[in-house]
């Protein structure tokens, strides 16, 4: 039975690895402080869940989830064209709140705070993914493919251009580069993979509600990216393992129920602070936030 538990954790790690690497693409490589990433994740989850409930096949649902989140990313970057640093952060944070409010209030579509239940299990080429082993394979393949694509993008000339935007946008503009276009492409790619991750999350959990895509989720994602190191994909992957597994390992501490919640949270925070104390730029980070 340990296997089933470990398979569940591996699935969660896979989902968060896609999500965190996609966030690192814009925050770490592009230097855009996007605090609305959980909203893109939520848009993907809701798009895929709603389409699947209506009987749309899983491959189309997951593709639609990616496209919907990608277009939302484009909308976000267009709306924040003239903003950077803390102003960009605040606006993207606002975007997250707007999306959360829509999920909560478009009751005829999203069921509001009741959430969407009974999301069908995915099926691909006649094979239904219903067991934990099947899910871990699906998520594992999706995570490997997504991360490989993002790694290739980050290592490509486009990736170097993206890093240059982070370092000195004005200099690039002087050279005649269209930095807005670079940002659009980065945000759309990041949104696409966040949407794919959201789709897999919705089908794996079988239930989603607006509370799963709030600022708390964004904070968790930023924690993964910062602990792993900005602009480092291997660091983000390692950090995903650490951030997901540490609280699970703390479940084995035998504590009375009155202190379980706060004590585990304190210990979790202390471990992460210790990592950042010894590695201020994250495990494999190259740049400061």
């Amino acid at each position: 039975m340990i296997e089933a538990y470990l398979l569940h954790l591996l699935s969660i790690i896979g989902l968060y690895a896609i999500l965190a690497v996609s966030l690192n693409l814009v925050v770490g490589y592009g230097g855009m402080l996007n605090l609305g990433h959980a909203a893109l994740f939520g848009i993907g989850a809701y798009t895929s869940a709603l389409l699947s409930i209506e009987g749309v096949p899983f491959p189309l649902s997951i593709a639609a989830a990616g496209v919907a989140a990608s277009l939302s990313g484009l909308l976000l970057v267009t709306a924040t064209k003239r903003l950077k640093d803390e102003y960009l952060a605040l606006t993207t944070l606002g975007f997250g709140f707007v999306v959360y409010s829509l999920m909560l209030n478009l009751k005829s579509l999203t069921q509001g705070p009741l959430g969407l239940a009974s999301i069908p299990k995915p099926s691909l080429f006649g094979l239904e993914f219903s067991t934990k082993t099947q899910f871990v394979l699906l998520i594992g393949v999706a995570a490997a493919a997504s991360i490989f694509v993002m790694w290739r993008i980050a290592s490509s000339p486009f990736g170097r251009l993206l890093r240059a935007v982070r370092e000195d946008e004005t200099y690039l503009k002087v050279l005649g580069k269209d930095t807005f276009k670079v940002k659009c492409k980065a945000m759309m790619t990041s949104g696409f993979f966040a949407g794919v991750s959201g789709s897999l999350y919705a089908h794996y959990m079988g239930y989603i509600d607006p509370g799963s895509f709030t600022l708390n989720s964004t904070i968790l994602l930023f924690m993964i990216v910062i602990v792993g190191g900005l602009a480092s994909i291997r660091g983000t992957i390692l950090s995903t393992f650490a951030v997901i597994l540490i609280p699970e390992a703390l479940r084995f501490l035998d504590l009375p129920s009155s202190v379980i919640g706060p004590m585990r949270n304190i210990m979790y925070a202390c471990i992460l602070l210790l990592i950042l104390y010894y590695r201020p730029r994250g495990i494999y980070g190259d740049v400061s936030l």
Partner: protein, 384 residues
């Protein structure tokens, strides 16, 4: 140039060194994790009745989770001190859901796969709905509680039960009071969560007069804007639906603004701390609560005295529900054995249960606590 090379070499050296340290730390983490997994499985070999609990012990719903667990722990001590059930002690396996569906699913997977409980009690709606498929998939009986959602139990899931109430049962007594008082217009100020939205909908659909509504989000503390808008509608009654701090703040602010309407509130406003705050503000209100605030009931009184003695706080109805939930499971185990199939069959065949919350109505897989209309005046609950 040389300096750059030197710096690069030095960095590579540091990275290699750190790589080894990270690898060692990762290895230790993995070993500790697997050791935890194995020891946890070994611990599960014993002759006890294992009841898993997935409670909100951190996050926004901790105010419900904490009194719930305290009530459950009192029931645990009572049952075990009396010799257990069929000669076997009950063991509680408590996991924190962090008040989130994913936290609940993580906790549930941990419980099912490593600790192998005989039954599980998920607490809160969103967590119960999220773990319901796991009950069916793993053929483990679950008794959801503090869970209002209609999606918690379903016809195609024979393993999920509920011990609580439905939004309609909480709101209908207040609708009846409004009708009896001849009110024409009721204003509803509600939290945009499951309880809030459901309560507003019930009032809107079942009240014969006019219903006007304003919603707020969980982090809200200042309700003056919404209340001013509602005051302009000149309602006969104001129904506030939210958690404890929302209820207390909104009701006191309504009075500050001179909204002279009869106050209705959910059962959460009847918890001792909220009652005291509203009493200090000189406010009385109507609510619907289980019979657990009936001071004449000896059993309830004994429980509350014990609770006060142990925790130095007055018990609320969440504590009583925690207490009753464990007794419900103990009753079923007593009659049908502690195998998972036995507990499921026992729950399916249960024809009645009476706890601190009074007798329950059984509708399919739902064991429903009755909510009685009450007036809270000077901090005391008077059942109507």
């Amino acid at each position: 140039m040389d300096g750059d090379l030197f710096y690069k070499d030095k960095r590579e050296c540091i990275d290699m060194k750190f790589g080894k340290t990270a690898f060692a730390l990762g290895l230790i983490l993995c070993l500790a994790f697997f050791a935890g997994c194995i020891s946890s499985t070994e611990e599960s070999q014993g002759e006890t009745i294992k009841v898993g609990v997935i409670a909100p012990l951190s996050g926004p719903s901790v105010t419900s989770g904490e009194p719930f667990m305290r009530g459950m722990n009192i029931a645990l001590d009572e049952i075990n001190n009396a010799g257990g059930v069929n000669g076997m002690k009950i063991e509680l396996l408590v996991e924190d859901s962090k008040s989130t569906p994913q936290g609940g699913v993580d906790a549930c997977n941990n419980l099912i796969n490593l600790k192998e409980p005989d039954a599980i009690v998920p607490v809160l709606s969103s967590i119960s709905v999220a773990v319901a498929p796991l009950a069916k998939e793993n053929r483990i009986p679950m008794v959801a509680t503090l869970a209002l959602s209609a999606n918690v139990t379903s016809e195609d899931n024979d393993w999920m039960f509920r011990y609580f109430t439905l939004p309609e049962a909480q709101t209908m007594p207040l609708v009846q009071i409004a009708e009896a008082m001849g009110f024409k217009k009721v204003a509803v100020l509600y939290l945009t969560d499951e309880l809030g939205v459901s309560s507003y909908e019930v009032f809107r659909q079942r009240f014969s007069g006019e219903v006007v509504g304003e919603s707020f989000i969980g982090s809200a503390g200042d309700f003056r804007t919404e209340l001013t808008k509602l005051k302009a509608q000149n309602p006969d009654a104001l129904y506030v639906v939210g958690y404890e701090t929302h209820s207390v703040n909104a009701i006191t602010q309504a009075k500050e603004l001179g909204l002279n309407a009869t106050i209705f509130a959910t059962s959460i406003a009847a918890v001792p701390t909220a009652r005291k705050a509203l009493k200090d503000a000189g406010i009385e209100f109507y609510t619907a609560v289980p019979v657990t605030y009936n001071e004449d009931d000896e059993k309830v009184k004994a429980f509350k005295d014990k609770f006060l003695g142990l925790y130095g706080k007055e018990a609320d109805h969440h504590s009583c529900i925690g207490y009753d939930t464990l007794y419900l499971i103990a009753k079923v185990v007593g009659s049908s054995g502690h195998s998972r199939d036995g507990i499921r069959e026992g729950l399916s065949e249960l024809d009645g249960f009476e706890g601190l919350d009074g007798s329950t109505d059984i509708e399919g897989k739902d064991f429903l606590i009755a909510y009685e209309p009450a007036l809270v005046r000077d901090g005391t609950v008077y059942y109507l």
